[in-house]
């Protein structure tokens, strides 16, 4: 028996030596206090997701912690019995239900313990909304959109919602406000609007996030009215910086027809500032100045100004009108104590007003009282110059000058009229302030007092540059003028030079007979933001020493040459309209008009197919009229320019500047390529909007307008060597134009040189094009007379040896003489000459046209091609 006990003990010791136990463990386990891990018996509750595993200790029966044990998490099992990963002392619980987390000691003999944790989604979705998602207050009669926000934590979008309520007072009865398409209208100027975001997830967890926004507002919102001091609401718009003074709405004093004013009292004297803290219209950048009246109800003068500029004296016991330039505020605006708060014309909030009678202390006498009127943002009240002068183009020396022009890019320059900087005896100047540093831009003469300067020699004005760096001014075509720092510089732009290159801001040529929108480029790239230059009065000068410019003006006649009758069925983009040439509605001497009937309310594009004149490079503008028989306005232009409102029941003229073609403003609708003035085939008319389905409008014939100076011409030749197009003169059979105004259709010019001839020629195709084109050569309109036409032709590529051409002379688009050439048995490289002695000379404005008659009338292959060169008329 004793031997058996010894063997048992020995075995025990041997086992001990291989296990991680101490004597104390063994003895304790067998004979000592019972140790356990103090995992709670109750089931914990936790939120699904990342879970920090609690830390536990080994304790004895008295719950005293036993040192020396390292309790670890042995495993964690999800409700489905699957072991889950333990990492970073956390588990990621993704399945709702009870997880079992088994704790044990790393070394030692203590029984494992299970922690039960019931995971569930118990948390409602979390709201993420920016602080500025809601306004500080809602203003009566204005419409607001619901705020933008997001919910995280698997929100149920069907169950979640947002509602708006109105409460007459805080915690009062709620009335739901109707929200339509995300917008709601404020109907009260008192009380509280409450935005409630109901966040709910699929587990039914709900949280409502509520935000209160105060309703406020004047009796009526007035455009441009900044401070409503003439009614009690005005008091809520103002605050004091230090609350030393007090204010109240008062009817004791009122400016003009106003009902009352805000009475400001300085009971104990001292200094303070009035601050515009609640504005309905923050952005007054469309205006020029702020106007406010203050009644100084004291027997001594008081000074006022906005911090820190614009100081003005308030005479005792009188109303004083204060007018502050918004330009000044943009540059000088500051908050009296918070440097970062800079009121500007874009946001007048924190605009501050100070009042003082003691310069040294910046304070007012105790008991001082003032009455403040409503404040308005206003445009300068100027409708013209004080006195019209014969030679003044821009009255920069008067307030009117400010209204005569604009900055090419509104952001770049801020314009204002000032009186503190002026040239000579002038009363003021135009101040041009750079708002963004290191750049230049145009100043546009939008409304010059003299538009026709063709009889003057130059325009002249003076520029003051008070800055450290120089600036330069230039009109395109003229020599640039540099304005040195610190002085007035005489600026002259010669009309002779301007004739060649002057443009408007779009790059369109500006005529000296009408310089409206003339652009002066101000190279202010050496200046920094906030620096200014000043313009004196701008004059047109007819310098007797220069002989007078006007005498050199060429004489000419105004002509309108037919471009297209629009009488061939036209191509309409995406069938948005149907078209028809009708004769019951027509403008002037036209035979008819193009009727366009809308099939859709969207934009309509009608591409012109037939042209009498394609090369309009020498003209000033295209012109056509639109008759709008509906009872509402419809906007019409071309693709993409000259959109013009066509009044109901009227013919409206639409002009498309030829320069618009030259600077790439007008494109081929289908290829996107720029349409060049040397050949405008592919031009599309555009009905931009205002029309309804089923309504029709009418397009007159299209003309090109210019002042014709090339009169009485008696002979000439086609300059086919200058044929060009975006593809050059070679390549595909396309439309092309020459420098001299000739144009070709369905043509190219590349085939002859290889046979040893260097003709300036054109090959016109006779294949029936899918779009209805046949090859054609066309002269410009010529003002003179013609007796004979001759040309050479040949190098034909014929189907059966036949050639057929028609030579027409047109006047006003109508054929007045015609000759047909029919040749048979022609060989490929044969050359022939054509001479046509007209039976009767033709005088006036005529055009020569040569058309390929397409003998085979085939639409396949490239047959019926014939080359023409050496076209001469005399």
């Amino acid at each position: 028996m004793k031997r058996s006990l010894a063997i048992i003990l020995a075995t025990l010791f041997v086992l001990m030596s291989f296990t991680a136990c101490s004597v104390e463990d063994i003895i304790g386990g067998l004979f000592g206090p019972k140790l356990r891990i103090n995992v709670p018996e109750e089931t914990l509750q936790a939120e699904l997701g990342s879970f920090d595993l609690p830390k536990y200790q080994v304790v004895d029966e008295d719950n005293l912690i036993k040192a020396g044990y390292k309790v670890i998490v042995k495993k964690a099992v999800d409700p489905n019995g699957n072991e889950v990963t333990v990492a970073y002392n956390k588990i990621n619980a993704i399945i709702p239900g009870v997880y079992t987390i088994t704790y044990g000691v790393e070394e030692g003999k203590v029984k494992d313990a299970d922690l039960k944790v019931e995971f569930a989604d118990r948390t409602a979705p979390t709201l993420d909304m920016k602080e500025d998602a809601l306004p500080k207050y809602y203003i009566k009669d204005m419409q607001y959109g619901l705020p933008t926000y997001s919910l995280s934590g698997d929100p149920d979008l069907e169950a979640s919602y947002i509602k708006v309520y109105y409460m007459a007072e805080l915690n009062g009865e709620k009335a739901e406000v109707e929200v339509v398409d995300g917008f709601f209208t404020i109907e009260h100027n008192t009380g509280i609007y409450q935005i409630v975001i109901h966040a709910e997830d699929a587990a039914g967890n709900v949280k409502e996030y509520s935000f209160n926004v105060e309703a406020t507002g004047p009796s009526e919102v007035v455009e441009g009215k900044v401070l409503y001091s003439d009614e009690p609401f005005g008091v809520s718009q103002l605050s004091f910086l230090w609350n030393v003074w007090s204010m109240e709405y008062s009817t004791e004093k009122a400016w003009g027809e106003e009902a009352g004013s805000i009475k400001v009292t300085a009971p104990s004297g001292g200094g303070d500032y009035l601050i515009l803290s609640k504005l309905i219209q923050k952005d007054v950048s469309e205006y020029d100045e702020l106007v406010l009246r203050i009644y100084n109800a004291n027997d001594y003068p008081v000074y006022t100004g906005y911090a820190w500029f614009g100081d003005t004296v308030l005479e005792p016991n009188a109303w004083t009108e204060l007018v502050w330039s918004l330009d000044d505020i943009d540059i000088k605006g500051s908050h009296p104590s918070v440097a970062a708060l800079k009121p500007t014309s874009k946001n007048l909030e924190n605009f501050s007003l100070r009042l003082w009678d003691d310069f040294a202390t910046n304070t007012v006498t105790a008991g001082s009282e003032f009455y403040i009127s409503a404040m308005f943002a206003k445009k300068q009240d100027v409708t013209g110059p004080s006195e019209v002068k014969d030679d003044v183009i821009m009255y920069f020396d008067e307030p009117w000058g400010y209204y005569q022009g604009i900055s090419g890019h509104a952001i770049v320059y801020k314009l204002s009229h000032v009186t503190d900087v002026k040239y000579g005896e002038e009363a003021g100047s135009l101040k041009v302030t750079l708002q963004r540093g290191k750049e230049g831009n145009n100043y546009i003469l939008q409304n010059p007092a003299i538009t026709d300067i063709s009889n003057y020699d130059y325009i002249e004005f003076y520029v003051y540059n008070p800055n450290q760096a120089s600036v330069a001014l230039q009109i395109a075509g003229c020599d640039a003028v540099t304005c040195a720092p610190g002085e007035w510089t005489q600026v002259r732009f010669m009309v002779e030079q301007m004739k060649e290159g002057a443009t408007d801001a779009n790059g369109f040529k500006v005529k000296m007979t009408d310089i409206t929108n003339l652009a002066i480029y101000l190279n202010t790239s050496n200046l920094v933001a906030g620096e200014s230059i000043y313009f004196s009065q701008m004059k047109a000068v007819d310098d007797p020493n220069m002989g007078g410019n006007g005498s050199d003006e060429p004489t000419g006649v105004e002509v309108d040459d037919l471009v297209s009758r629009l009488d061939v069925p036209t191509k309409v983009y995406q069938d948005a309209a149907s078209t028809e040439y009708v004769t019951d509605v027509k403008f002037g001497e036209d035979e008819g008009s193009l009727k366009v009937t809308a099939n859709a309310t969207g934009e309509i594009y009608v591409t012109i197919r037939n042209y009498e004149l394609m090369n309009i490079a020498s003209y000033e503008y295209l012109t056509f009229r639109v008759y709008n028989p509906t009872d509402h306005d419809i906007t019409v232009g071309v693709c993409w320019w000259a959109d013009t409102v066509c009044k109901a029941g009227e013919w409206t003229e639409i002009q498309v500047p030829v320069d618009a073609f030259a600077v790439g403003k007008i494109d081929d609708l289908y290829t996107g390529a720029d349409i060049l003035p040397s050949n405008i085939s592919g031009l599309s008319l555009r009905v931009l909007g205002g029309h309804q389905v089923g309504e029709s409008i009418y397009f007159s014939h299209m003309y090109a307008h210019k002042t014709e100076t090339n009169l009485g011409v008696t002979s000439g030749s086609a300059d086919l060597g200058t044929l060009t197009s975006p593809e050059g003169k070679e390549g595909n059979y396309l439309s092309r134009g020459t420098e001299g105004g000739w144009s070709t259709l369905y043509s190219r010019s590349d085939e002859i040189a290889e046979f040893g001839h260097e003709f300036d020629m054109v090959t016109i195709n006779g294949k029936l094009n899918a779009d209805g084109y046949v090859g054609r050569v066309c002269s410009p309109y010529i003002n003179g007379n013609v007796n004979k036409i001759s040309f050479s032709y040949g190098y034909a590529n014929t189907e059966d040896g036949n050639i057929s051409l028609t030579v027409n002379i047109r006047m006003g688009g109508k054929v007045v003489a015609s000759k047909v050439i029919n040749d048979t048995g022609i060989e490929k490289y044969q050359i022939m000459d054509f001479v046509w002695e007209l039976e009767e000379p033709i005088e006036g404005r005529f055009m020569i046209e040569i058309v390929n008659n397409s003998p085979t009338q085939k639409a396949d292959g490239n047959k019926d091609r014939i080359s023409i060169w050496n076209i001469i008329w005399e």
């Binding site: 040192a67 970073y88 002392n89 990621n92 933008t148 997001s150 947002i162 398409d181 996107g672």
Partner: protein
């Protein structure tokens, strides 16, 4: 007695052996629970993150979880100005330990302003059995890996962008069903069909360049990934397939560029009528609001069927979906139809191309009648997805005070534990570190995961020194209206390409000097 002596002997032996065995440590003073905790005790880690479409609530929670795991303090700061963090980083004037920015850190990386994060990528997060570099999206990893074998950036979003459908609208207007377009020709036909139903095919704001996600992908599909990427590195592919340094700007004539913009021109040109009427008036958020059925400013309530957008979209429009729930799904960008010009079989019809794409989507590895070379070419194209992942960049500034703790945070962020926190906040979205949340996802997030799998990321490659040093770019439009604005106003694809060519060629010599800069 002998037996008693035996027992005493055994006790003696035991008492001698005991100290040598692995018995419990009485108290080593370590309250470490066998995990990583304690490594940051007493330290404060500062993280600054750009507050964009993904918000930063996820980061707040991730920081708390890291604090408890590492016994440290984490301060999360936010930047609300796009570009601010990149500018500060490039100026070496950022004082935080981790920077999570929107933009490109490549300039800072090349100037040695970022810490090498190789040991983060090489680490295996706790409880996992794969290193971060192995479990993550390989295309992202490979793109970030530098030539010297080091890697300096991570990403705080694996953001993709593609074509998003408003399924609610489409289901309503096509009750008989509809086929999701596989090719751009099908997309145009689909847009025509949508237009005929009185619905805008696309919502878009021309003020933001979201269509880059489309036409860049089409370009890459057409030219192939290598040629597309080489564009940014100034490497020209000769007709016989040689890759040569492009001293003449020939890459500007890569045909895929023109083909891609031609498709964009067709869809974006105003008069073609595929876009929202107020495309050039709406802000980006207004265009998104219009897309989810809320109309434009109460003026135009016409619905929209499609929008090119990113996977942040749902987060940004969630409050509008709450007002009017719409089911959104993201689809793979249709393959550019003209890709057939690059195949061996140039006569493949668009219908055949679409059928091959269906087979690719079904997991087929070949298609009857299509050469393996052509099939593989189309597989590559189908895997291409615009990725904004690289724009959401993370770096540890070289001057950071707590570099090691920052790395631990990044390991934690890339762990499944960290990603679970991210996904919970972003309703299922995750980063590029191989975590796909279990459980139910909404259709938008699920569709995004379907696209991400095995994707080839396409983006403007800022890692090229030509791009981040010399401003080499994909397209310039001269007028400042962006490619969308230019095409919308009627400019042609050819004009876009030529304008870009003119602009970039003017400084091509300078651009190529980027390789010489240090």
């Amino acid at each position: 007695m002998k037996k008693l002596r035996f027992i005493l002997l055994m006790l003696l032996i035991f008492s001698m052996v005991l100290p040598l065995t692995a018995c419990p440590d009485p108290d080593d003073g370590d309250d470490d629970w066998g995990n990583s905790g304690g490594g940051g005790k007493g330290k404060t880690l500062t993280i600054i993150c750009y507050e964009g479409g993904f918000g930063t609530l996820w980061l707040n929670d991730m920081a708390k979880a890291f604090e408890s795991a590492y016994d440290c303090k984490v301060v999360v700061k936010k930047s609300y100005i796009n570009g601010e963090l990149i500018a500060l980083l490039n100026d070496n004037s950022i004082n935080d330990d981790i920077v999570m920015a929107l933009g490109s850190m490549d300039a800072a990386q090349n100037r040695g302003l970022l810490v090498d994060l190789s040991d983060v990528y090489n680490a295996t997060p706790e409880g996992e059995n794969e290193a971060i570099k192995d479990k993550m999206v390989q295309a992202i990893y490979e793109k970030l890996l530098t030539e010297d074998g080091k890697i300096y950036q991570m990403n705080w979003a694996n953001s993709i962008s593609s074509l998003v459908l408003n399924k609610t609208v489409l289901d309503r207007i096509f009750p008989e069903g509809y086929k999701v377009p596989n090719t751009t020709d099908e997309l145009i036909a689909f847009a025509d069909a949508i237009k005929a139903k009185g619905v805008y095919p696309f919502s878009i704001s021309t003020s933001i360049s979201y269509w880059d996600y489309a036409h860049w992908t089409w370009w890459a599909q057409y030219d192939g990934y290598q040629k597309y990427t080489d564009y940014y590195y100034g490497i020209y592919h000769t007709p016989d397939g040689q890759r040569v340094k492009d001293t003449e700007g020939k890459v500007l004539e890569n045909q895929g560029r023109l083909e891609a913009v031609k498709v964009a021109e067709k869809l974006l040109k105003k008069e073609n009528g595929y876009l929202h009427k107020y495309a050039d008036s709406m802000t980006w958020q207004e265009s998104q609001i219009a897309f989810v059925g809320q109309g434009y400013a109460g003026q135009d309530m016409t619905e929209c069927a499609m929008m090119v957008n990113g996977d942040w979209l749902q987060n940004e429009v969630q409050s509008y979906l709450i007002q009017k729930n719409q089911e959104l799904v993201m689809i793979k960008m249709p393959i550019i139809s003209s890709i057939v010009n690059t195949l061996e079989n140039k006569n493949m019809t668009d219908a055949e191309l679409s059928a091959v794409i269906d087979a690719i989507d079904a997991g087929e590895t070949s298609y009857p009648g299509v050469s393996q070379k052509d099939f593989d070419r189309l597989v590559e194209a189908r895997r291409m997805v615009y990725s904004a992942t690289f724009d959401h960049c993370i770096g540890v500034p070289a001057k950071a005070k707590n570099k090691e703790l920052a790395k631990e945070f990044l390991k934690f962020m890339a762990s499944d534990m960290g990603q679970a926190i991210y996904a919970k906040h972003l309703n299922g979205l995750s980063m590029a570190y191989g975590y796909e949340p279990t459980g139910t996802m909404n259709s938008f997030v699920q569709s995004r995961y379907d696209i991400v799998e095995n994707m080839i990321p396409i983006c403007l490659d800022f890692s090229s020194p030509l791009v981040h040093r010399q401003g080499h770019t994909a397209y310039t439009t001269g007028s400042g209206s962006g490619l969308e604005g230019s095409l919308y106003s009627g400019k042609s694809a050819e004009w876009i390409i030529n304008d870009t060519k003119t602009t970039l060629l003017a400084s091509w010599e300078e651009i190529m000097k980027a390789f010489e800069e240090k």
